[in-house]
Subunit: 312 residues, 2 copies
């Protein structure tokens, strides 16, 4: 096996790229724009050109490269076939074969970006030491990835670990982006926390710093840290839904740990104070021991995980 | 690898044993009693003695046996360590090593019985052709097993797939055996269906055959088949909870198929008519394509799956 590996994380606006040694040491990282026009047909050629350029720059030969791992925002199955990635304009085709053909047969392995990031956190981030874990990303939405015995659980069409749309509230009247009602994402994402906060502020007349300035997940948790009681009640609701949702997840896959990342997790370990009591209340006793950790790789989780996929 | 394999399924009262060819052809099956007294210390020696006796009877040598697979009712991790199996009296010890020592170092691989049965259904039962599936057993309780890429998802302590205790009803006031309230098992097991039926009969004054004779999951679905409207309403409730619960499961592991077994499934495909609409209502669109199949191996699923574990 070669001594180097490339990790590629394709996003809707930029492609993050990493050049690694096989032990996980990140030697270089850079970004290129994601050209989504014309059904995203330029994306993989752009990636291939950037990899060739980097190899030339570093003076390394194809024989020294173990391969290219790649994460992309869409359902990608275990064979590397993407089944429509809306944000990139992609339809259905085999990412592994297409990129490999653009790189003279170099080994390529593709996966769903959230799953790939989960693998990155296991390898070099907050999930180090665990072989069975669930990464949860609390950003604009709620994403996730499941690692089973050290490997990505991709599921039938790469939607394994896409826990943002599991149902956690029967009484919800607003629709989620997915058109269902009561999805985890409606309460536990950054957007969801703002929604909970707005509802709370409408109903309550209590004094709170949250009536000043712009509402965000950050402003809510900043207020929590400052002892604001209304903010604490909002955090309590967030914790109820996420704790209950993760109890469901634990009841299915019995992980050793949950590794929580994404913008909301920047509030730090304070979020666990609100999640854990509800997790413990709703989880079956046999799965209640799961640990809670913060993700540590931030936006680099994708390139680390992509590299790790090649090395498996 | 040897040409024969033993599959052992330890239950609370009997141990089912199967003698297979490596292609899955079942040559012989039999049972021995499960002696649970003295912390179940005789169980594995009894199993070993029965295997030796069968080998002698068939005139086969140790070198011809690939190994012994074993399923037991309790949390057993990927290394074969059982973490307290109440029904057998077992504490914490390594089943693989213990049984292997009793069989002159023969290869032994143990797993949780529900997970092992799931593997059996994938190999030779209702799940043939799928590599990512969830087996659901609707018996006295609700059990399950998850197969990911053809292998058992055991989870941190072997509780992977134990979906009977995921939370599906906030408004429940009665406690489940596990002490939580609103567990899937309270509605979708044979016992759960009887509970739903009793509630329905108390509240309703409609005419129904269910007021005569003994209530059971079978009597409810027999009445459904005969067009009894009250029974149909009970089946509708059963379908609501199970469909919603399996939508949660699909949102976590995105299976190709659910394979439904256990006593309740003897009603046949009619149960899908009640489960599927709710599954489709609650499942995220990316995971909604899961197929529903009936388990076909019945009580033999455990010995088949145990044998398959050895052959992996």
């Amino acid at each position: 096996m070669g001594k180097y590996v490339f990790g590629v994380d394709i996003g809707g606006t930029t492609v993050k790229m990493g050049f690694f040694e096989a032990d996980g040491n990140l030697l270089d990282k850079w970004e290129i724009p994601t050209r989504t026009e014309n059904k995203g047909e330029a994306i993989l050629p752009d990636v291939a050109a950037s990899i060739r350029q980097k190899m030339e720059e570093k003076g390394i030969d194809k024989s020294e490269v173990a391969g290219v791992g790649i994460g992309a925002p869409g359902p990608i199955d275990a064979d590397g076939v993407v089944h429509v990635a809306v944000n990139l304009g992609w339809g259905v085709f085999n990412v592994n074969e297409t990129l490999s053909n653009l790189l003279d047969g170099m080994y390529v392995k593709a996966g769903n970006d959230a799953n790939v990031a989960a693998l990155g956190e296991m390898w070099k981030g907050g999930g180090q030491g665990y072989k069975n874990m669930v990464a949860v990303t609390l950003g604009t939405g709620v994403g996730g990835g499941i690692i089973h015995n050290g490997e990505i659980l991709s599921g039938a069409v790469g939607a394994g670990g896409e826990i943002g749309h599991i149902h956690v509230e029967d009484a919800e009247e607003e629709s989620c982006n997915c058109k269902n009602k009561g999805c985890l994402e409606q309460y536990a994402s950054a957007t969801g926390i703002v929604r909970l906060a707005k509802r709370k502020l409408e109903k309550s007349s209590e004094e709170t710093v949250l009536r000043e300035g712009k509402l965000s997940a950050k402003s809510v948790f900043d207020a929590v840290k400052a002892g604001d009681q209304v903010a604490e009640q909002i955090a309590e609701q967030f914790g109820y839904y996420l704790g209950k949702g993760l109890a469901l997840v634990a009841g299915v896959v019995n992980p050793e740990a949950f590794v929580i990342g994404g913008g909301v997790s920047k509030a730090g370990e304070v979020i666990f104070k609100y999640i854990k009591p509800y997790f413990e209340e709703y989880a079956f006793h046999a799965v209640r021991n799961a640990e809670f950790k913060l993700a540590t790789l931030g936006n680099d989780a994708g390139i680390y995980g992509a590299a790790k996929m090649v090395l498996e």
